[in-house]
């Protein structure tokens, strides 16, 4: 979803060889290797970090991931394991770790979301095969914050469709909505974004 929504949204994705190797290790047999998809779709690879960044409270096995994100100048580290990344390390480098569902809830429009669901369902040979069922099953389970933000698009979507959400979905000094360093709360929002009507439809700039 992150990659499918990127051309329609306001963010750019990069990842490192180490992340790619990890992703490939978790792929099901028969799936196209991530490296092949990267080359086919021109996804951007940034180098693994060649320096030992002074990191103190991040899970040791995720240190290279954070170090590479810092080195590449990323503003957000989008991960299903936000809790692995330490608050001190993130604050020291102006980076926020955020669950992909929460990130997408703030960085894709309803229009783009519907467009991508329709595009996925058009190519699907297995269930779920229509936008609504993809939204209510796969998105609800894997990206609960995105499901929640867009539940009004398919008005039958009930609260109990959201499975157990991840315990920690955000950590860091950069607001998930405005991307500014404004000491956001645990839901990722800074005071300024919280107290104004939030448009979940970021403008896309063309130049």
């Amino acid at each position: 979803m992150l990659y499918l929504l990127a051309p329609l949204s306001d963010y750019r994705l990069v990842y490192s060889p180490l992340v790619e190797a990890e992703a490939q290790r978790h792929q099901k047999p028969g799936h196209v290797p991530v490296a092949v998809l990267r080359e086919r779709w021109d996804w951007t690879l940034v180098p693994d970090s060649d320096e030992d960044a002074a990191l103190v409270d991040t899970d040791p096995k995720d240190l290279p991931v954070l170090a590479s994100a810092i080195q590449s100048g990323a503003g957000f580290l989008v991960t299903g394991n936000v809790r692995h990344f330490g608050a001190h390390d993130l604050a020291a480098h102006g980076l926020s770790a955020v669950h992909p569902g929460l990130f997408l809830a703030h960085h894709c429009s309803a229009e783009s979301y519907l467009e991508v669901l329709a595009a996925i369902s058009a190519g699907r040979l297995r269930e779920p095969r229509n936008p609504r069922s993809i939204h209510e099953s796969e998105i609800a389970v894997q990206l609960p914050a995105l499901f929640d933000a867009r539940r009004n698009l398919f008005d039958s979507a009930a609260a109990d469709l959201v499975h157990e959400p991840p315990g920690i979905v955000f950590r860091g000094p950069r607001c998930v909505h405005c991307a500014l360093l404004r000491e956001p709360d645990v839901d990722g929002l800074c005071d300024s974004c919280r107290h104004r009507p939030i448009r979940l439809t970021p403008d896309r700039t063309l130049s």
Binding site: V32, D42, A122, G123
Partner: protein
Amino acid sequence: MSSLEITPESGDAWDDVIREHLARGEHARVTFEVPSLTPAQVAESIGVSRATIMRRILAGEIRTERRGNRHRVPLSEVERFRHAYVREMAADLAIDF
């Protein structure tokens, strides 16, 4: 010499600016063009490399207008290609996703 860019969103202020220049004895030359992006700007906007965009242009998958020996991609074509690109990628990823 100075220049002024006018878009459909510019309002009416450009009218006075031109009159002011004409009153000073200057001439104005007006050209009209379809808004467009360079291949590098298209690449940046969609999040791919310029090489990918050039490959698609040379394959005839992105329509361009030529300015001298340079390609320019009309904004309407950028948007058509953006959505086609997402559909194409979704079809490719649909099995794995």
